[in-house]
C-alpha cells in the first residue's frame, strides 16, 4: 500500500509528539545543542545587559512559564479554560502575602503552586458536563469571581488599591537579578516537566481525550481525570509564574490580572503555536518583545501590534513554530523541488 512520507499540514493545533519518524531525531539533536547554548547565554545575561533589558527578559521568562501551562490546557487538552489569569493572580497574591507574613519567598513558590493546582481542579470541575465555549465561559466566570474576591478581601490584599510586594534578594546581588536567576531555573525546569508530560503517554492520551471525547473511555481512559489533571498542571505553572511576576512588579492590584492579561496570554499560546512544545517560548517572546519594540511607534504601536498579529496568523496558521514545516510544504518551496504542488486539496482530509 502506498502512503505518505512528509507530515501533514492540518491547521488546527497539531500537537507533535516524536512519532518515531527518523528525520525528527536528527533535528532533535540539533535543537538540543541550540537549547543548551541558549540557556547558557541566558544565565550570563545579568552580567551583560542593563536592568531594563534584564527586566524584559525576566518578564518574558515569567510568561513562558505561564504559557507552558496554558498551552498544555488549551493546545493539548483542547479545553479553553479562561481562569488562567486569575490563577496567575492567586500565585502573585499568595506569594506576596505569604512573604509579608514571613515565609521565605522560595518556599512560597511550591505552596502557591499546589494551592493553585487544587483551585484549578475546582475551576475545571464544570468540565464534567461542559466543553468548548460553555467551559470557556464557565471558567472565565470563576476566574472573574476570584479577581473580585481579591478586590473585596481588602484587609489582606489591599483591595483595589493594591499591595506592595516585599522583594526577595540573594545577598550581594542587586536589582532584579536575584529573581531573574530563579525565574530562569524555574522556566527551564517547567519546560522539561511539560516536555516529559507531553511527549509521553500523558500527552498522547490528552490528545485522544481532545479528539475522541467520551469515546476515549473505551480505551480505558478516564476522560474526566485527564481533563482535570490538565487543569491542575496549568494552574500549577500559572501560580509559579504569578509568584515571580509579583516579585518583578513589586506592586500588585487586582485590575492587573483581568482581561488585559488574559488576552495576551491567549495570544502567546496561539501565536507560538497551540499544541506545540516550543510554541509557548516563541509566543511569550513575541508578545513581550514586540510591545517593547513598538514602543517608539507612538500612536501607531497598538495598531501595529494587531496587524503583526494578524499577519503572523495569516502566514503561519499553525503558529510561529510551524515555520519550518510550513516552509517545507509550501507552494513556493515546493515549486523549487521536483514534483512540488500546491497543497490545496489538503482541506478535504476526507470529506465527512
Amino acid at each position: 500500500m502506498t502512503t505518505v512520507d512528509d507530515p501533514a499540514q492540518t491547521g488546527a493545533p497539531v500537537p507533535r509528539t516524536r512519532g518515531g519518524a527518523a528525520p525528527a531525531r536528527g533535528r532533535g539533536a540539533l535543537k538540543a545543542v541550540a537549547a543548551v547554548v541558549a540557556v547558557a547565554v541566558l544565565f550570563a545575561a545579568p552580567f551583560g545587559v542593563n536592568t531594563y533589558m534584564l527586566f524584559v527578559l525576566n518578564l518574558t521568562l515569567v510568561y513562558v512559564i505561564s504559557t507552558l501551562g496554558f498551552n498544555l490546557l488549551v493546545g493539548w487538552s483542547g479545553q479553553i479554560g479562561l481562569a488562567h489569569a486569575a490563577l496567575f493572580a492567586i500565585g502573585a497574591y499568595g506569594s506576596a502575602i505569604a512573604v509579608e507574613g514571613g515565609v521565605p519567598f522560595l518556599v512560597t513558590i511550591p505552596l502557591v503552586a499546589l494551592a493553585a493546582a487544587t483551585l484549578a481542579v475546582v475551576i475545571g470541575f464544570p468540565a464534567i458536563r461542559l466543553t468548548g465555549f460553555f467551559l470557556a465561559i464557565a471558567t472565565l466566570a470563576l476566574g472573574m469571581a476570584i479577581i473580585e474576591v481579591l478586590t473585596v478581601a481588602a484587609p489582606i490584599t489591599g483591595g483595589g488599591g493594591g499591595m506592595d510586594v516585599v522583594v526577595w534578594k540573594i545577598p550581594g546581588i542587586t536589582g532584579s537579578a536575584s529573581t531573574y536567576f530563579v525565574t530562569l531555573v524555574v522556566a527551564v525546569l517547567a519546560y522539561f516537566l511539560v516536555r516529559r508530560a507531553l511527549v509521553g503517554r500523558f500527552g498522547r492520551t490528552l490528545q485522544t481525550v481532545r479528539h475522541l471525547g467520551t469515546l476515549s473511555g473505551s480505551l480505558g481512559v478516564s476522560v474526566l481525570r485527564y481533563r482535570l489533571t490538565a487543569f491542575a498542571l496549568s494552574g500549577f505553572l500559572a501560580a509559579i509564574a504569578g509568584a515571580l511576576y509579583a516579585q518583578l512588579q513589586t506592586f500588585i492590584f487586582p485590575a492587573m490580572f483581568g482581561m488585559n492579561l488574559l488576552v495576551p496570554m491567549l495570544v502567546m499560546v496561539f501565536v507560538g503555536g497551540a499544541g506545540s512544545l516550543w510554541g509557548p517560548v516563541v509566543g511569550a517572546a513575541f508578545a513581550v518583545v514586540l510591545i517593547e519594540f513598538f514602543q517608539d511607534l507612538g500612536d501607531l504601536q497598538a495598531i501595529a501590534y494587531g496587524i503583526v498579529l494578524m499577519l503572523a496568523i495569516a502566514v503561519l496558521p499553525g503558529g510561529l513554530v510551524s515555520l519550518g514545516r510550513t516552509a517545507r510544504e509550501s507552494r513556493w518551496v515546493g515549486r523549487l523541488t521536483s514534483r512540488g504542488r500546491a497543497a490545496t486539496g489538503e482541506e478535504t482530509g476526507r470529506a465527512g
Binding site: P126, F133, I137, A138, A302, Y305, G318
Partner: protein, 286 residues
C-alpha cells in the same frame, strides 16, 4: 425597582443583539468572533460623524448599519476565507488581532475620548405612574426585540440548515452543492449589521469609547453561550436575563460585583442546562 428592571432590559438588549451577531457568524463560519464589538464600534463612530455633520439622524443610522455590514463582509472576504481550512484556532486568534487593530484604529482616527450618538429622543424622559422612563430605553428594548425576531425569521429558511452544514464540515457542504462562500458572506454581513445596531443603541443612551468594547464583547459571548451558540431566541433571552441580573446585582449588592456575579449566574445555568436555553440536540457519538 422599575428603574433597575428597565436599565437591565436596556443593557440586556445590547448584550442580546451582540450575542445574536456572534451566533449568526458562528452558525455559518464557525468562528468565535472577538472583533464583533469593534466592528459595531467602528460603524457607530462613522455614524456619529455623519450625525454630527448635521446630516439627517436617520441617514446616520442607515450609514451606521450598512457600515457594520460592509466592514464585516470585507473582513470575511479578505481575512477569514483563506484561513477557514486551518480550523478554529487561527480564526479565533485572527479575530482577536482584528479587535486589537480596529480598536487602535478608532483611537488613531477619532481619539480616545468617549462619545455618544445623539438621537432625537436621547436624554428625554416621560413619567408613568411616578416612574421616569427614558425614551432611549424604550427604543432600545423595542428595536432589540424587533431585531431578534427579524433574524430568527431570516434563519428559519433553509439558509439556516445550509449554514450549520457549512459550519460542521465546509468541504462536504460544498460537495453537496452548498455555496459556502455566499453563505458566510451573508452571515458576516448580517452579523456586522446587528453588531452595529447594538453599539449604536448603546451610544444613544450612554457613552461608547475604545474601551467600552471590551466588556460588551464578553457579555455578548455570555449571551451567545446561553443560547448554546445555535439558538437565536435562546441567545436573546439569555442576553436580557444577563442584563437584568447584572443591574439587580449592581443595585442591591455592589456595582463592582456585577460582572462576576452575572457570569456566575451563567455558570449555574450552564451546569443545570449544559446547552444553555436550547432543546439540547444531544449528538449520538457512538
Amino acid at each position: 425597582m422599575v428603574q433597575t428592571a428597565l436599565s437591565g432590559l436596556e443593557a440586556g438588549s445590547w448584550f442580546a443583539l451582540l450575542g445574536l451577531a456572534i451566533v449568526v457568524v458562528m452558525k455559518a463560519a464557525d468562528v468565535p468572533n472577538f472583533a464583533m464589538a469593534e466592528i459595531g464600534l467602528v460603524a457607530t463612530y462613522v455614524g456619529t460623524v455623519v450625525n454630527a455633520g448635521a446630516a439627517n439622524f436617520w441617514v446616520a443610522v442607515v450609514v451606521t448599519l450598512l457600515g457594520g455590514a460592509v466592514l464585516a463582509v470585507a473582513i470575511d472576504l479578505l481575512l477569514m476565507r483563506r484561513l477557514a481550512k486551518h480550523g478554529h484556532f487561527p480564526l479565533l486568534l485572527m479575530t482577536i488581532g482584528l479587535s486589537l487593530a480596529l480598536n487602535a484604529l478608532i483611537g488613531l482616527i477619532w481619539g480616545h475620548d468617549p462619545r455618544s450618538f445623539t438621537a432625537p429622543w436621547s436624554g428625554s424622559y416621560f413619567t408613568v405612574a411616578g416612574f421616569e422612563i427614558s425614551w432611549a430605553q424604550v427604543v432600545t428594548i423595542a428595536v432589540g426585540a424587533a431585531g431578534a425576531i427579524g433574524i430568527t425569521w431570516f434563519f428559519r429558511t433553509s439558509t439556516g440548515a445550509q449554514m450549520r452544514a457549512v459550519a460542521e464540515n465546509r468541504a462536504t457542504a460544498r460537495l453537496v452543492g452548498v455555496n459556502a462562500g455566499r453563505l458566510s458572506a451573508i452571515a458576516w454581513g448580517v452579523g456586522g449589521l446587528i453588531a452595529a445596531m447594538a453599539v449604536m443603541l448603546q451610544a444613544q443612551s450612554t457613552l461608547v469609547s475604545t474601551h467600552s468594547a471590551a466588556s460588551l464583547i464578553i457579555y455578548g459571548f455570555v449571551a451567545a453561550t446561553m443560547g448554546g451558540f445555535v439558538s437565536l431566541i435562546g441567545t436573546f433571552a439569555g442576553g436580557l436575563a444577563l442584563g437584568v441580573i447584572q443591574q439587580t446585582v449592581g443595585a442591591y449588592v455592589s456595582g463592582t460585583a456585577q460582572f462576576a456575579v452575572a457570569l456566575l449566574a451563567v455558570v449555574i445555568v450552564l451546569l443545570v442546562r449544559p446547552d444553555g436555553f436550547t432543546r439540547g440536540v444531544r449528538l449520538r457519538d457512538v
